[in-house]
C-alpha cells in the first residue's frame, strides 16, 4: 500500500534507488561498456619529489595493442583547481593534468590506452622515466623549517598554502586572567581515508560533433563538467557528464582526479571510448585522505566550570596539493569558536604542503580533528574541576542565539537536548558510581563526546540548490535534480518532500537525476546539505507547481484557487464536502484540449543550519594486549525533522563505523623516509568489519527545526563521524585512567601508556 498525504515526510518509504541495488541492475559508471572501448592505465611515480628529466614512451607505443601514451609533453598545460567549487576560497588552483615535476610518491606521470587492461599494464613498465630527485618533506614541521624545499610556486609563503586564518572574539588575555584553571594540550590526528567501496572510475567518449560524454563516479557532476570544459577548452554544450548510481564518496569524490582528464584526452587521441578504473591500491595512493592535523589548545575555566578563554593553533597537512586545504582549515579552525560557549577566543589555523599523499574533503571536514581536541580537553577539565563531564558540557553547551562558527545565531537548544537525552538513556549518573573491575585483564569505561555541524558550506561557498518539478497528465509528477545519489537515499528524501508538498502519494513522484544536459545545475552532494538545501529547493518547486495546479483546478471547479487544498491526490474546496476533483482529472486532456504543461522551478540559496549530537560509548580495554573494543554506542542526534528514519539512522551508524575506525585502527601510513605508501589496501588499512562493530542504538530528536530547511530538516551526513572519536578517547580514560590526545590509539600505545602510568605511580 502506498503511503499518502501528510505522513510521507517522516516515514521510511521504500527507497526508490534500492531495487536496482538488490537485484544487480543498478548501473554504476564502471558498468558502462561501449563498442570499441579501450582501457586506460596510469603510470605513477616511484619517488616523492623530483623533476622529470626525461620520459620516453617509445617502447610502450611499440607494444602491440597500445593505442596512445600521454605524458606531460603531450597534454595541455593548464593550471586548475582540483576541486573546482566556483572559485571559492575553499579550494586551491595548483594542479596540472601531468606536470614536469612530481610532488608525492604515486603521482601520475603518464597514461596508456590499450586494447586490454593487461596490455595497458604491461605498457606502463615500458615507459622510461628519469627523475632528478629533490629533497622531500613529509611532516608539517619539516615543510616549515628554514631551507625546506618549496613544493609549489603558487603557495602563500614557503609551503604555507594560504594566508593563515585568524579568528578573534572578545579578549583572550583578559579571559585567562580571570580563570581559576587553565588547561593546555597538544593533539594530533592520523590520516584516515574515505575508502569508499567503488574505486574511482570513468568512461569517456567523443562523438563526431566534438562532444565529450563522461560516465564517472563523482559527487559533483557539474563540477566535473565545468573543470573538464575549462581545462580542455570546450564550451559547456560540448561536455556531458552522466552519473547514475555511485558507490560512495564521503566527500573525497568532490575532487577531480588525474585519470578523469587523462581518460578524456586518451579517448580524443585514439578516437575510441576509453575506460579508466583505479585499482584499490590507487584509491589510496591517488585518492584523498583526511588532513592529518596538529592542534594546540588552551582553555581557561572558572571553578564552576564556565569557560572564560579559548586559544588554539591548528596546522593541517594538505599533502602534495591544495585540494580542500583552505576550506578544511577554515571550517575546522573556526568550529572551535563554538560547541561550548566562550566569549574570549583566539584561533589561528594554517595549512601546509608536504610531499605526502593528497588530503581532501572527507566527511567531517576539519571538524573531526578540532572537536576531537576540544571534547577530550573538556573531559580533562571536568576531571580537574571535580565535575561530571556531562554536567560541565551541559553548562557550556551552545544554545539559542549563540553565534555559530558561520557567524549566525543558533536556532534552538539541540546540543543540550542531545546530552540530556543520552545521559538519561544510558543512566549516566549511575554509571559514574559503578564499581570497577579489579581482577583479570579487562577494564570497562564509559565516555561521551559532542559535536555540531553545519548543513551547507556557507560562508566558504555561497551555495545554491535547484529543482524542477513537472506534472504529468495522469496526475503524477517528476522531480529533476542535479543532486548526486551518493548512497544516502537523498533522491528518496527529495521525492518524499515533493510528494508531501504536492499532496501526492510517494509512488506518484519519480526522480530524474545524473545527466548534466537535462537536470538543473547542482553544486554537488557534500557538506551535509542535500536534504536541507536541495530539499528546500524541491519543496519550493513543488509549491510552485501546486500553485499552478490549484489555479487550473479553480478554473475547472469555478472557485478561487486560494480556497482549494490538495491531499492524497485529490483537490477539494476547503471546508466544502463534495466539491472535488482528482489531480489526474485536473491535469488530463479533455475534449480535444491537451494536458496542461505545469512546471515549477525552485532555487534556494541557504546560509547554514546546525545539527547536533552527543555520543555515549562503552569500551573495554585489555590491559595485557592493549586491545580496545567498543562494546556499545548510543548516539543521540538532533536533526530538526527526520525525513526518512531508516535512512537517517543508516547515516549515523555508518558514520560511527568510520569514526571508530579512524579512532582505533585506520591510518594510511607512508614511509617517513621516502613517502612511499605502506598500507594501500584493505589488509593493512584496517576498517572495522562486521565482527568489530558494536550494537548501535540510535536516537533521533526533532527539537530544534531550522526555519530554512524543508519541514525544519537539517543535515545529518557528516555529524555522526565527529562525536564518536572523543567519546571513545574519553571512555578509554574512564577505563584505564590514561588520557590519549591523538588518533588512532593503537594497542602498543595503550600498553606503553599503562607502563608509564605504573612507573609514575611506583
Amino acid at each position: 500500500m502506498s503511503r499518502v498525504g501528510s505522513s510521507i515526510v517522516g516515514t521510511s518509504v521504500k527507497r526508490t534507488d534500492v531495487i536496482g541495488k538488490v537485484t544487480g541492475t543498478a548501473r554504476y559508471a564502471g558498468d558502462v561498456k561501449l563498442a570499441g572501448m579501450l582501457h586506460g592505465k596510469m603510470k605513477r611515480s616511484t619517488i616523492a619529489h623530483a623533476n622529470i628529466r626525461r620520459i620516453d614512451a617509445s617502447r610502450a607505443l611499440a607494444l602491440p595493442g597500445v593505442k596512445a601514451v600521454l605524458t606531460h609533453e603531450n597534454v595541455p598545460r593548464v593550471l586548475h583547481y582540483g576541486a573546482p567549487h566556483p572559485r571559492s576560497i575553499s579550494v586551491t588552483c595548483d594542479q596540472y593534468i601531468l606536470d614536469r615535476k612530481v610532488r608525492y610518491w604515486g603521482e601520475g606521470v603518464a597514461a596508456v590506452a590499450a586494447t586490454s587492461e593487461e596490455i595497458a599494464e604491461e605498457a606502463l613498465d615500458l615507459i622510461e622515466v628519469e627523475y632528478e630527485p629533490l629533497p622531500a618533506v613529509f611532516t608539517v614541521e619539516a615543510a616549515q623549517a628554514p631551507g625546506a624545499p618549496q613544493i609549489h610556486e603558487t603557495a602563500y609563503a614557503g609551503n604555507v598554502l594560504f594566508k593563515p586564518v585568524v579568528v578573534t572574539r572578545g579578549d583572550v588575555a583578559q579571559g585567562f586572567a580571570e580563570a581559576d584553571l587553565v588547561i593546555e594540550g597538544e593533539y594530533e590526528t592520523g590520516r584516515p581515508t574515505p575508502a569508499y567501496m567503488e574505486p574511482n572510475v570513468c568512461v569517456c567518449q567523443w562523438d563526431n560533433t566534438g562532444k565529450l560524454t563522461v560516465w564517472v563516479s563523482t559527487q559533483a557532476a557539474f563540477m566535473v563538467r565545468g573543470i573538464l570544459a575549462e581545462v580542455l577548452g570546450l564550451p559547456l554544450t560540448r561536455v556531458r557528464v552522466l552519473v547514475d548510481h555511485m558507490g560512495g564518496g564521503f566527500g573525497a569524490k568532490q575532487d577531480l582526479f588525474q585519470h578523469e582528464f587523462l581518460c578524456a584526452l586518451l579517448a580524443k587521441e585514439t578516437r575510441h571510448p576509453v575506460r579508466m578504473e583505479y585499482t584499490r591500491g590507487e584509491t589510496f595512493v591517488g585518492g584523498r585522505s583526511r588532513h592529518p592535523c596538529k592542534i594546540w589548545l588552551k582553555q581557561g575555566f572558572k571553578r564552576d566550570g564556565t569557560i572564560v578563554a579559548r586559544e588554539a593553533r591548528t596546522v593541517f597537512d594538505s599533502g602534495a596539493y591544495g585540494s580542500h586545504g583552505p576550506g578544511v582549515t577554515i571550517v575546522g579552525t573556526t568550529a572551535l569558536t563554538s560547541l561550548y560557549r566562550c566569549e574570549n577566543v583566539r584561533l589561528e589555523g594554517r595549512c601546509v604542503y608536504t610531499n605526502a599523499p593528497i588530503a581532501g574533503a572527507f566527511r567531517g571536514y576539519g571538524v573531526v580533528q578540532t572537536y576531537y581536541a576540544l571534547d577530550i580537553q573538556m573531559d580533562e577539565a571536568a576531571e580537574r574541576l571535580g565535575m561530571d563531564p556531562v554536567e560541565l558540557k551541559l553548562k557550556n553547551a551552545v544554545r539559542e542565539g549563540d553565534m555559530a562558527p558561520s557567524d549566525h545565531p543558533l536556532v534552538g537548544h539541540g546540543l543540550e537536548d542531545c546530552i540530556r537525552r543520552g545521559a538519561a538513556e544510558v543512566g549516566w549518573a549511575a554509571l559514574r558510581q559503578r564499581p570497577r573491575e579489579q581482577a583479570g585483564t579487562l577494564r570497562r569505561g564509559w565516555g561521551m563526546g559532542c559535536e555540531m555541524h553545519g548543513s551547507s558550506a556557507y560562508p566558504g561557498i555561497k551555495e545554491q540548490g535547484n529543482a524542477i518539478v513537472k506534472m504529468n497528465e495522469d496526475g503524477t509528477a517528476v522531480l529533476l535534480t542535479g543532486a548526486a545519489g551518493l548512497g544516502t537515499g537523498a533522491h528518496t528524501a527529495l521525492a518524499q518532500i515533493v510528494a508531501e508538498e504536492l499532496g501526492l502519494a510517494f509512488d506518484a513522484v519519480s526522480v530524474v537525476h545524473g545527466d548534466t544536459d537535462i537536470v538543473p545545475w547542482d553544486i554537488g552532494a557534500f557538506a551535509s546539505h542535500t536534504t536541507f538545501m536541495v530539499g528546500r529547493a524541491a519543496q519550493m518547486a513543488a509549491a510552485e507547481v501546486k500553485r499552478q495546479l490549484l489555479q487550473r483546478a479553480g478554473e475547472q471547479l469555478e472557485v478561487a484557487a486560494e480556497d482549494l487544498e490538495v491531499r492524497d491526490g485529490v483537490i477539494a474546496v476547503r471546508g466544502v464536502a463534495g466539491r472535488r476533483i482528482t489531480v489526474r482529472e485536473c491535469m488530463g486532456p479533455k475534449l480535444g484540449i491537451p494536458a496542461a504543461n505545469l512546471v515549477g522551478n525552485g532555487t534556494y540559496t541557504p546560509t547554514k543550519s546546525y545539527s547536533f549530537a552527543a555520543h555515549f560509548v562503552e569500551v573495554q580495554v585489555d590491559i595485557a594486549t592493549g586491545q580496545i573494543d567498543v562494546l556499545q554506542v548510543i548516539p543521540v542526534h538532533e536533526v530538526g525533522k527526520v525525513v526518512h528514519p531508516i535512512a537517517a539512522a543508516g547515516q549515523i551508524e555508518g558514520g560511527i563505523q568510520q569514526g571508530i575506525g579512524h579512532t582505533l585502527t585506520e591510518d594510511y601510513v607512508i614511509d617517513p623516509a621516502t613517502g612511499r605508501s605502506l598500507n594501500a589496501g584493505f589488509v593493512d588499512y584496517k576498517m572495522p568489519l562486521s565482527l568489530d562493530m558494536p550494537p548501535i542504538r540510535t536516537i533521533l530528536l526533532e527539537t530544534a527545526p531550522d526555519p530554512g530547511g524543508p519541514y525544519g530538516a537539517k543535515g545529518i551526513g557528516e555529524d555522526p563521524i565527529i562525536a564518536i572519536g572523543p567519546a571513545i578517547a574519553n571512555a578509554v580514560h574512564d577505563a584505564i585512567g590514561v588520557r590519549f590526545r591523538h588518533f588512532p590509539i593503537t594497542p602498543e600505545q595503550v600498553l606503553a601508556a599503562l607502563k608509564e602510568k605504573a612507573g609514575a605511580a611506583a
Binding site: 593487461e118 599494464e121 604491461e122 591500491g281 595485557a624 594486549t625 592493549g626 586491545q627 582505533l664 585502527t665 601510513v669 605502506l678 598500507n679 584493505f682 589488509v683 593493512d684 584496517k686 572495522p688 568489519l689 562486521s690 565482527l691 568489530d692 594497542p747 602498543e748 600498553l751
Partner: protein, 287 residues
C-alpha cells in the same frame, strides 16, 4: 592481471615435469587465493601457471585412530574448519583455519597452499607444527616425507627442490588428555594477517604436563618452536608460576621484526601474553 600461459596437468608426474621445464617461470595454482593476489599486485610474474586441481587423488581428508589425520593438497581451509574430526581432535588447526581470511577465501584456499606459500604469519602453520605434522612430497626423484617444522627455510622459502610439490599432510593422532589451542593476534576480529600466532598442544598426566609443543607464527622468518619454553614445562605441574616463566622464556626465543602491522617489541610482548593464555586454554581442553 599479467598475461600467462596456463596448464592443467592430469597427473603428479606431468605437473612435476612442467615445473622442471619452466623452472622459476612457473607457479603452482591450487586455491589461487595467494597466487592470483601476488600476480595482481606484481609480487610474482609467472609465465606459466600450473593448475593442480585436475590431478586425481589430492582431495581426500581421512582420519583413523592409528595414523591420525591425512589430507590432500586440494583440501580447502573451509573443509578443515568444518570437519567434525578436526574440530574434535585438532582444535588449534580448526581454529586457525576458521581465522584464515573470509569464508569466501576459505572455500578456495588450501591448507597445503598456505604451507607452500611459507609466509611467516600463515595461520595454519603453528597449530600443524604443534601437532607434529609432516608433509609428503612428490618430485622427479620420487617421494619423500618432511616434518613440517623442518619444511621452511625463510619467508616464502621451503625445502622443495625444482619439480617438487606437496601432495599431502599427515598429522599424528592426539594422545589421551591432550588439549590444543591457537590464538591469532591482530587489530580486528577477522580478515587479519596475524601479528603474532601462538599454537599450543599439550598432554597431561595426572596434574603434570607430560608433553607440550609451542609453535609461534609471525615472530621469526619462519614459524618456530619455542623449545626452551616447552622444556621448562615438560614434566612440570602447570600453574601460574610455571606458565608465566615459560611464557617469558618464549619471549626470548622469538625473533620478530617491526613493520606496519606492529613493532618487534610489541610482538615479543604479545608472545609472552599469548603463550600463557594459549597454555591455559589448551590445559582446559585437555580436561
Amino acid at each position: 592481471m599479467r598475461r600467462f600461459e596456463y596448464h592443467e596437468p592430469a597427473s603428479l608426474d606431468e605437473a612435476s615435469a612442467l615445473l622442471v621445464r619452466h623452472g622459476a617461470d612457473a607457479s603452482l595454482l591450487a586455491g589461487g587465493t595467494d597466487l592470483l593476489v601476488e600476480i595482481k599486485e606484481h609480487l610474482r610474474w609467472p609465465q606459466h601457471v600450473v593448475n593442480v586441481k585436475k590431478i586425481p587423488g589430492l582431495a581426500a581428508l581421512e582420519y583413523d585412530e592409528r595414523n591420525g589425520l591425512r589430507f590432500g593438497a586440494l583440501v580447502t581451509a573451509r573443509a578443515i574448519e568444518t570437519a567434525a574430526v578436526v574440530r574434535a581432535r585438532y582444535a588449534g588447526l580448526a581454529q586457525a583455519a576458521r581465522e584464515l581470511g573470509s569464508i569466501q577465501v576459505r572455500h578456495r584456499a588450501t591448507v597445503v597452499g598456505n604451507i607452500c606459500r611459507a609466509s611467516p604469519s600463515a595461520d595454519t602453520l603453528p597449530p600443524l607444527i604443534a601437532d607434529g605434522a609432516s608433509v609428503r612430497i612428490h618430485g622427479p626423484a620420487g617421494g619423500r616425507t618432511v616434518a613440517l617444522e623442518d619444511f621452511f627455510t625463510g619467508p616464502g622459502r621451503t625445502v622443495l627442490a625444482p619439480g617438487e610439490l606437496v601432495t599431502e599432510v599427515v598429522v599424528p593422532p592426539p594422545a589421551p588428555r591432550t588439549g590444543k589451542h591457537y590464538i591469532k593476534h591482530g587489530r580486528r576480529k577477522a580478515m587479519e594477517l596475524a601479528t603474532v600466532g601462538v599454537a599450543v598442544a599439550l598432554t597431561l598426566e595426572r596434574d603434570a604436563c607430560r608433553d607440550i609443543r609451542i609453535a609461534l607464527g609471525a615472530v621469526a622468518p619462519t614459524p618456530i618452536r619455542a623449545r626452551a619454553a616447552e622444556a621448562a614445562l615438560r614434566g612440570r605441574a602447570l600453574d601460574g608460576g610455571t606458565i608465566a616463566a615459560a611464557a617469558r622464556t618464549a619471549m626470548g626465543e622469538c625473533r620478530p621484526i617491526s613493520n606496519v602491522r606492529g613493532s618487534a617489541e610489541y610482538r615479543r610482548e604479545m608472545v609472552g601474553v599469548l603463550v600463557a593464555r594459549a597454555i591455559e586454554r589448551a590445559r582446559e581442553g585437555a580436561g
